[in-house]
Symmetry: C2
Subunit: 213 residues, 2 copies
């Protein structure tokens, strides 16, 4: 059985969500960020960058949420959740994953870094404004890629929607405007659609339930 190392309100919910979509049972191991449990040598042996999430499989540990959800779909998806390797559709899926993680997510991550995630001496107040500006600049690109599709890779829900959905939930939580002043209504509608999935709700509820233990 897989073991997910996570913490509520981090990228670990992406893996929990993917596991729930696939109907796979898993152990959940809470890494208490506030107690600095991610900085121990024990956790670094699993996640060299000391980042959350990590998934421990029978063959070893994996990090990088977008890589993990792709792996899970390849292993267990059975023609669902991910296009066939070698197809043009698969290339578009990979393109979307890279766009999401290196373009759409980075401004939100920079906003978090310069609010709390970097050591205080490395934070720059004005970077928060630049991050908001960069998010507003990239959002119309995402909106154009999404167009009037139901999901980011067309009419099939894929693991790229797990990553996109979580990024948009995070953006909303960071008080960013998902519509870019009304120009990108399709993004807000899409976010509501994917974040309304039951598997997502089961995923975050399970994470939160481990907090009180």
């Amino acid at each position: 059985m897989y073991t997910l190392y996570g913490y509520p309100k981090t990228r670990s919910v992406r893996i929990a969500w993917a596991l729930e979509e696939l109907g796979l049972p898993y152990n959940y191991h809470l890494i208490d960020l506030k107690m600095g449990q991610h900085l121990t040598d024990e956790y670094r042996a699993i996640s060299p960058a000391a980042k959350i999430p990590a998934l421990v499989t029978e063959e070893g540990a994996l990090t990088e949420s977008a890589a993990i959800v792709t792996f899970l779909a390849e292993r267990h998806g059975m023609q669902e959740f991910i296009p066939e390797p070698g197809s043009f559709e698969r290339a578009k899926y990979e393109e979307m994953m890279l766009f999401l993680t290196s373009e759409l997510e980075q401004p939100i991550w920079n906003l978090a870094k310069h609010t709390f995630a970097l050591p205080s001496e490395q934070r720059i107040d004005r970077m928060r404004e630049v991050a908001v500006w960069e998010f507003q600049r990239v959002l119309p690109v995402f909106s154009a890629m999404l167009a009037d599709n139901e999901f980011v890779c067309g009419n099939m829900f894929t693991m790229a929607d797990v990553i996109a959905g979580h990024i948009l939930a995070w953006a909303k939580g960071s008080k960013l405007d998902l519509t870019a002043n009304g120009k990108c209504e399709n993004v807000a509608v899409y976010a509501q659609r994917v974040l309304g999935r039951e598997a997502y709700e089961r995923a975050w509820r399970n994470e939160v339930s481990h907090m009180s233990k």
Copy 2:
């Protein structure tokens, strides 16, 4: 035949390098960044984010360099350049790709953004110091992941080495110290190994040759 839209000293050399490794012929279409050719509606129809590179295939256009090189290896690699889909090795390949593009590359990209790539009113001088600090922080993580392997996924050269090699060449060009004050000698040795490949030299020479035309 594939058509690569590129410009020297950008991420397009990654695609040219991958095509050269695979022995595939391709058309090269120079997008003159200095003339603003990437900002035209014509180019945005190919690359919605107005970014370089893009690869036009018979089935449509692709962007995101890491996605493109993965696609090329899946289509033409024949057991070389990329591990088998569904294998744990493939998951580690994807993990490395995501780490490279969202962790190792971002500080270098931030350095470029706050030096010239952002509109001047969005640039913050001090961000350059923070970017250098972040690069020095992430480099030992990459060094630990690389360990004493010949390539980033072990002893097989893969498309992840194309991305890693280019990021390190870019870092060197940005005057960043690849050894983190001598602590990460394996990274510098690795960079020399992959950047010494003939396919890389053919790739960048071809790009440069289009400049004078």
